[in-house]
Every structure is written in structure tokens, then in C-alpha cells.
Amino acid sequence: MVILQVIWSSLPVVLSGLWLTIEFSLIAIVLEVIIGLIAALMRLSNVAVLRWIATAFVELFRSTPLLVQLFFIVVGLPSILPLNHIFGPRFYPILGAIVTLGLNEGAYVTEIVRAGILGVDRGQKEAAASIGMNGFQTMRYIVLPQAFKRMIPPLVNQAAQTIKDTTLLAPIGIVEMLYKSQTVIAETFKAFQIYSLVAVLYFIIIFAVSKLAAYTERRLQVDKR
């Protein structure tokens, strides 16, 4: 039962990291939903420039690895711009990392939202127009409520993905659960036990979120009713 002693003694440090992981995840999830909504509406707008910008943003963030993006923004960018001096060397890495995470996941959310809106039957729009609604009203009262129903399951999935992706903050020196656990391993040399604990903790929160996705999916089966 030595393993339990090691886990027990390292628990406070790892849990303090878990709290940071949850904090970063929540901020990133809020950020990515806002970014995703705005970018999706831009992609569906009638103004060509807006469409072009949003498409470029999505493709850029989807076609490069998140870890590279994080290194680029947090480590690379400050070497040509005085970002550490503007935001402070303690705050900038966290800010840069969260914003990058939000943008990256936001690119995926953009596609989820866009697909949700496009998935609403054309007849719905025509019906709205025929009872005299304008474009904004159609969006607000007819299209978006139906689209949101479809979006919720993949959005919850994306939230789970975001939690997993916070582990990529460890290599760039941001303190979260993985980073904390690695420092504990450096002191105790009990890699197996500590990583086991970390894996179980991640499993618990991500599995819970994934189950939430499955549950909402069952509740919101739009088509099958």
C-alpha cells in the first residue's frame, strides 16, 4: 500500500494543479464559444471581407498543431514584441496561452456553430419570411433556437477536448496539473504512481463532461421526434 501513501502525500500539490486546470479550462471554454459564435456569423455573412477573414482564421488555427501555436505566441512572439514588458512577465504567458487555447478551440466551435445554423431546414426560413419576419428576426426567433439544440452535444464534446488540451500548457512553463505533477515526480521519483493519480483525475473530469455530452444528445434528439 506504499502507492497510496505516495499518492496521499502528493495529493495537495496535484489538486492545487487540478484547480488551475479547471480554471484555465473554464475561461478557455467561455472564450472559445464567444469567438466561435462571432466567427460563425462572419462566415455566414453577406459581406465578403468578413467571410474571408473568418475563413482564414479557421483554416489557420485548424491546420497547425496547438502546441506549435502555443510556443509561437508564448515563447516566440515576445522575442520580437515587448509583450512581457506590457503585460508583465508573470501574466503574459498565462494570458497568451489562454487566448491561444481559446482561439484554437474557437476555430472548431466556429465550424460546429456554422454547421448547426446551416442544418436548419430552408423551409423554416421561407416560412419565417412568408409571415413577414425580417432577416434578424428570422435568425433570432426561428433559426438560432433550432440550431442551438443541434450544437449543444458537439459543443460539450469540444469542452472535453479543451480540458485535454490544457495539458499542452505544461511544456511552455504554465503551471497546471501536469506541470505540478511533474515537479512532484522530480522530488519523489515515483512517476508511475503520480501519473496514475493524474490520469485518474483527468479521467474523472473529462469522462463526466463526455457523459454530459451523451446525455444532452439523448435529450435533444431534434430529428427523431
Binding site: M1, V2, I3, L4, F71, V75, G76, P78, S79, P82, L83, N84, H85, P89, R90, Y92, P93, A170, P171, I172, G173, V175, Y179, Q182, T183, I185, A186, F192, Q193, S196, V200, F203, I204, F207, K211, Y215
Partner: protein, 287 residues
């Protein structure tokens, strides 16, 4: 979520935990296979030629540029060989992990790779007298006004994750929040360059290597810890060990040795060993 689903979830967690507890008691040991040296030409060598093993991924001590192996250690061993009338037949490059096994297996006679003299290593190979004093040092921007470890109190220090530098800083009262740890030391240097940290505390030779290519940084406060590098020699050749020691003494006396510091270490003389330091007196006790 029905009751059954929650129950299923708990069962999964319990199974995982049980598996972990079950595994926790088993202990595995793995032995490292020796790294790749090229085919051994041992056996029929005349007594005045030597085969030298080196790991070329440790500039400025050893590095490989366009196929030629150069560096502080390489030039030093060649100078020693010349003094003693030995001929360096070949420099075999191999990963650091493979060096000690190669000496044991007589694939090479001597090895230079910035090898720290440690008691555990002395059981399997012989060491020459110490030729370099290494340890942790502080690298800062020249205009930072930081001149010692005390000046770093409360400032941000970058280093490589989970290395002895972290232990050192923690034992000297640095808080976790003031130590930025990266998976790769180069990221720590980048962070220093871009103002994300006030200093890098790391192995002095590595700091020197960065300093050699960057004009805006310098090393302050001398060595914070001490360990010594020695030339490793196979236990089968005590007479060769004596020759290496004599040669080392000779190049120390005639100034060749000191010149290497100017050529390869940017004039950083923190590591200069002036006198004869026997390996048993300076070995790092790691047992």
C-alpha cells in the same frame, strides 16, 4: 443520468484504482543497452595508439560541425596525446549513455564527454585527475544589475524542468512561483531574452554556450555548486591512465590548457583547474 449509469461510472473508477494498487508494488528494472559505437577494431592495437569515445552533443566541449568533431575536450585530449607520444587513432562518437559501456567493453580506451566524476562511475571506469570544474551558474542580461544569487531574491528565474537547478533554488529559499520550469532549456533562454525571466540558473557550460552566441548576456556570481569533469579511462590500462594524467599536467603547465578556455568557453575561467585534483577527492557522491 440514471442510477445505473452512476453505478457503472463508479465501477469503472473502482476497477482503475484496484488495477493501480495492484500494479504499484511490482518493481521493474531495465538495463540500458550500450549505445552504438562503430565496429570495434580493438585487440590488435599497438600500445601507443588510442581510441577515443565522445558524445558530440555537448557544445562547447564536444560538437560536430560539417563532419569534423571539435570542442574543448577534443582539442585537450589531442594535446595530451601529443605530449605523451600517443596517437589518436579514431574519435568514435556515441550517445552519452553508451560511453561507459563502451569503455567497459574495450571499444574505446578513453572517453571525453564532459563526464562528471561520480563515485558510482568510478566502480566501472578509471578517471584522470579533474580537468574542469562545473556547476550551476547564473546567466543574466548585462544591463540587469544582478550580480549574485542574493540579487535574484524575489525575481523570476527560468530553468529546465525537474533538474538539480530546481532543487538548488528551492533549497535556497526560492518560491515555486518564482521558478519558471520548461521542458527544454532553450525555452528558458528564449524567455530570458524576451524579458519573461530575470535569469537562467543552469549548468555553467550550457550557460557559456549560450553566452558565446549572445552578446547581451553574461554570467555572474561564479559557480553555485561544484562538480568536476574527468577523462574516463578503461580499467584495463592503468599505464595509459598515468600517461593521461602526466599529459594533463604538462598542458596545464605550458599554458595550452588555459588557452582552451579562451578559445571555447568565451574566456570564462570559472571552471579552470590549476592544480592536481585526484578523482577520489572530488568525486560526486551519488550512492
Amino acid at each position: 443520468m440514471t442510477k445505473r449509469r452512476i453505478l457503472g461510472f463508479l465501477v469503472v473508477i473502482l476497477c482503475l484504482s484496484a488495477f493501480l494498487v495492484g500494479c504499484g508494488s511490482s518493481k521493474g528494472t531495465s538495463d540500458k543497452s550500450s549505445g552504438g559505437g562503430s565496429s570495434s577494431t580493438g585487440g590488435n592495437k599497438s600500445s601507443n595508439t588510442i581510441l577515443v569515445g565522445a558524445d558530440t552533443t555537448f557544445p562547447p566541449f564536444e560538437s560536430e560541425k560539417n563532419g569534423t568533431v571539435t570542442g574543448f575536450d577534443i582539442e585537450m585530449i589531442k594535446a595530451i596525446a601529443k605530449k605523451e607520444g600517443l596517437k589518436v587513432e579514431q574519435i568514435k562518437t556515441m550517445p552519452f549513455d553508451g560511453i561507459i559501456p563502451a569503455l567497459q567493453g574495450d571499444q574505446v580506451d578513453v572517453a571525453v564527454a564532459g563526464i562528471t566524476i561520480k563515485t558510482s562511475r568510478m566502480e566501472t571506469v578509471d578517471f584522470s585527475n579533474a580537468y574542469y570544474k562545473s556547476g550551476l551558474s547564473i546567466l543574466v542580461k548585462k544591463d540587469s544589475g544582478i550580480n549574485s544569487l542574493d540579487d535574484l531574491k524575489g525575481k523570476l528565474v527560468a530553468t529546465k524542468k525537474a533538474t538539480s537547478s530546481v532543487d538548488f533554488l528551492k533549497s535556497h529559499g526560492f518560491k515555486d512561483a518564482n521558478i519558471k520550469q520548461y521542458d527544454d532549456i532553450n525555452t528558458a533562454y528564449q524567455t530570458l531574452e524576451s524579458g519573461g525571466a530575470d535569469a537562467v540558473v543552469f549548468d555553467n557550460p550550457v550557460n557559456i554556450n549560450f553566452m558565446n552566441s549572445h552578446d547581451d548576456v553574461h554570467i555572474v556570481g561564479g559557480l553555485l555548486t561544484g562538480e568536476y569533469y574527468g577523462i574516463a579511462v578503461t580499467k584495463d590500462k592503468p599505464e595509459l591512465l598515468k600517461k593521461i594524467n602526466d599529459g594533463l599536467k604538462a598542458i596545464q603547465d605550458d599554458g595550452t590548457y588555459a588557452k582552451l578556455f579562451d578559445k571555447y568557453l568565451g574566456g570564462d575561467k570559472n571552471g579552470l583547474v590549476n592544480d592536481v585534483k585526484a578523482p577520489k577527492d572530488v568525486a560526486l557522491d551519488d550512492e
